[in-house]
């Protein structure tokens, strides 16, 4: 169990009614109470039941994380809150689009590294690439860092989408 005062990163899944304002409620809760958001991903996941899944990566002490979960849980349109970090093993993936500009050896090196990271090339010109990469936040960080030496132009990232491992769902 996490020590009282130490700050840890948690990945939290929130199932909400897909209605106007629900994202504003969640974001307002974090900003209004001074909680940290490292990343936040939201999309409709069940059109019939009109539900969306929010995946939020946050950091805090044990008490703060418990507060965040309790505060999320009492929002009226929230169905369920799960702390994937506490509940067991989980998989977490992010998608990034990484634009790199370069010529000659640097261009070849970028392509080689992209291949090593299993990135797809989704756009290319004679002087640039856009790579599509999925993986853990660490993997994407590592790739972006490598590209920064090879002509990195810009990056777009989705934030984490995460599910628990095993057969059970939320």
């Amino acid at each position: 169990m996490q020590e009282q005062g130490t700050i840890a990163r948690h990945t939290i899944s929130v199932i909400v009614d897909n209605e106007a304002g629900v994202l504003a409620r969640v974001i307002g809760l974090f900003s209004g109470r001074g909680y940290n958001i490292e990343s936040l991903t939201v999309a409709s996941v069940d059109a019939e039941a009109k539900r969306s899944r929010i995946t939020v990566v946050t950091t805090g002490t044990r008490m703060v994380i418990e507060q965040i979960k309790a505060q999320l849980d009492r929002l009226v349109p929230v169905h369920k809150v799960a702390d994937l970090t506490v509940d067991g093993k989980f998989v977490s993936r992010e998608l990034a689009l990484v634009k790199v500009r370069g010529e000659g050896e640097k261009r070849v090196e970028a392509l080689r590294l992209a291949d090593a990271f299993r990135a797809n090339t989704v756009d290319s010109t004679r002087t640039s690439f856009v790579f599509e990469l999925t993986g853990s936040a660490d993997k994407i960080d590592a790739f972006v860092e490598l590209m920064s030496e090879l002509g990195l132009v810009e990056v777009a990232r989705t934030g984490a989408a995460a599910l628990s491992r095993g057969a059970d769902g939320l």
Partner: protein, 598 residues
């Protein structure tokens, strides 16, 4: 998880009548048993006001400012236990209501506030009297709705009342575009059995309740710390609190919001705790070995410096709101549930397990408490030349106690003196702005209570500064012949600000003098009230009796000692057992850190 089995919506009707949005609103409010609406008309709610005009079953009280409408609804709610209903127009109507909504959120008062909105096609166009009401009120309500389809009105109104009154109560806003109020749709309820997401846990976890009983049965220095949640849980919760205290012999202290849940005249009562709490209550909280918090949230006014708060105790907390548990102070046993339901189980278990037989003697603890009580922390130096504010409240208590009055307050020194010196033996008689500390709360709150109880004595204990923040409501009281009494402790200062400036800013009384005060007696008369001024201690009783015996609204301008401070006081940045008493030499806070703790 345990859930309530209350059906939130009645079964769907076979045939649905076509009604305008405004008609549906009035129909739904009527079905929900609403008796009174506090409101103020305007362009965006004219269709609803037209429906109000056409009926007689729901009373409308016209306030003079929308903030006061919410406070009046709060006063109505707090004194009756029923939700208060507010109706205001769009734009400034809604923004004026924001302070009241925030007040209701912080004090967990059930209020449903209907706001007008510009027509749907104008939303977002910066239309006349347009404000993003759901955006503005999102952080200051428990929940809010923007109704874009008139067919949804019945379900949303039923749901709003369910949300406002279940779990931890709070304010709910329903924003209604004007064209939605006019458009017709079938009046049909979906007949949903339970709320799709919001099902607060009412019954506590049995294992945790047993843990609590085990801890309390072993405790040598136990204390019960009771809060506003006990009052929100209804009169039964107060009775069960008394029953549990009787069974166990444990001393009881109360927060500002919880006063009245446990009888102040009971010998087991230690008085209010916290920043201006009693010596005995704060010391007992600090030195206890087991603390039972019921419907109380370890607010900073209660704890003082958190690292020095009750360091040696095991803490049990009962709260309907999971997010209140472990928020400020970590507890050993957190029980999510309704105060009445959990206390009932605790009383039963205590008896069934014969816990009394194993309980250590509390004699030494009570002896220690008697020692603290002997400090007589509320004592003050009386005077024959000038009315002491504490004296005025003591006499008010003595002369009104047999009438079981409803007391409201504004915010400041007078509020703390009222809390210290008015003993409340029953719940729902004490209306005060505890969480938000809203000056201007007391008069409209007293009006709301007086609307609910036309024959009861309703008194707003006020200060000369606070009363001016919603003084226009004197007109409301006059219009509806509400015999509310306003008892002003006039010390010509924003007394609590002045007290803090004297104690922590070397007496630099920056802008805290109440200059250019109105003549409150003439002001009262101008509003059709009776006005009384009293300044000589010899005349105090007569003035109070004249006030309570007058059949109509009365404002008493009670001129009191100008620079009296409110003690005991836990000063800025201090631990809760480091209290100043009247006559103590005050040491200025040594650090900016301490000064920053307001």
């Amino acid at each position: 998880m345990t859930t309530t089995d209350t059906q939130i919506l009645p079964a769907a009707a076979e045939t649905a009548e076509m009604l305008s949005g405004a008609q549906m609103i009035m129909r739904a409010l009527g079905e929900l048993g609403v008796e009174v609406i506090f409101g103020y008309p305007g362009g965006a709610v004219l269709p609803i006001y037209d429906e109000i005009f056409k009926q007689n079953s729901i009373r409308h009280i016209l306030v003079r400012h929308e903030q006061a409408a919410v406070h009046a609804a709060e006063g109505y709610a707090r004194s009756t236990g029923k939700p208060g209903v507010v109706l205001v127009t769009s734009g400034p109507g809604a923004t004026n209501a924001v302070t009241g909504l925030t007040d209701a959120l912080l004090d967990s008062i059930p209020v449903v506030c209907l706001t007008g909105q510009v027509a749907r096609h104008l939303i977002g166009n910066d239309a006349f009297q347009e404000a993003d009401t759901v955006g503005i009120t999102r952080p200051c309500t428990k929940h809010n709705y923007l109704v874009k389809d008139p067919a949804l009105i019945p379900d949303i109104i039923y749901e709003a009342f369910y949300v406002a009154t279940n779990g931890r109560p709070g304010p709910v806003v329903i924003d209604l575009p004007k064209d939605v109020q006019i458009e017709k749709a079938p009046y049909k309820l979906s007949g949903q059995k339970a709320h799709r997401t919001y099902r607060p846990q009412v019954e506590g976890d049995e294992e945790k309740i047993l843990d609590a009983i085990r801890l309390l049965a072993k405790a040598e220095r136990p204390i019960i710390y009771s809060g506003g949640g006990v009052i929100n849980a209804g009169p039964e919760a107060s009775e069960l609190l008394v029953a549990f205290a009787r069974e166990t012999g444990i001393p009881v202290t109360s927060t500002l919001m919880g006063l009245g849940a446990f009888p102040a005249s009971d010998k087991q009562f230690l008085g209010m705790l916290g920043m201006h709490g009693t010596w005995e209550a704060n010391h007992a909280m600090h030195d206890c070995d087991v603390m039972l918090a019921v419907g109380a949230r370890f607010d900073d006014r209660v704890t003082g410096r958190t690292d020095a708060f009750s360091p040696g105790s095991k803490k049990i907390q009962i709260d309907i709101d999971l997010s209140s548990i472990n928020k400020n102070i970590p507890v050993d046993v957190g029980i999510v549930g309704d105060a009445a339901s959990v206390l009932k189980r605790m009383v039963t278990l205590w008896r069934d397990l014969k816990a009394k037989d194993h309980q250590p003697s509390l004699d030494a603890w009570w002896k220690q408490i008697a020692h603290w009580r002997a400090k007589k922390c509320l004592s003050y130096t009386d005077s024959t030349d000038v009315i002491m504010p504490q004296k005025a409240i003591e006499r008010l208590q003595a002369l009104t106690a047999d009438r079981n009055p409803v007391i409201s307050t504004e915010v400041g020194q007078h509020q703390m003196w009222a809390a210290q010196f008015l003993g409340f033996d029953r719940p729902n008689c004490w209306l005060t702005s505890g969480g938000l500390g809203t000056m201007g709360y007391g008069l409209p709150a007293a009006i709301g209570a007086q609307v609910a109880f036309p024959d009861r004595l309703c008194i707003d204990v006020a200060g000369e500064a606070s009363i001016q923040m919603n003084i226009q409501e004197m007109s409301t009281a006059n219009q509806y012949k509400l015999p509310v009494k306003v008892f002003i402790l006039n010390n010509e200062f924003m007394g609590m600000v002045r007290q803090w400036q004297d104690l922590t800013y070397d007496g630099r009384r920056s802008e805290s003098y109440s200059d250019a005060l109105p003549d409150f007696v003439k002001l009262a008369e101008a509003y059709g009230w009776k006005g009384i001024r009293v300044s000589d201690p010899k005349d105090l009783d007569a003035a109070i009796l004249e006030m309570i015996n007058h059949d109509g609204p009365v404002m008493v301008d009670c001129l009191v000692s100008k620079i009296e401070n409110c003690f005991p006081m836990v000063p800025a940045g201090a631990a809760h057992n480091e209290m100043l008493l009247s006559g103590d030499v005050v040491v200025q806070p040594s650090s900016d850190e301490a000064r920053a703790v307001v």
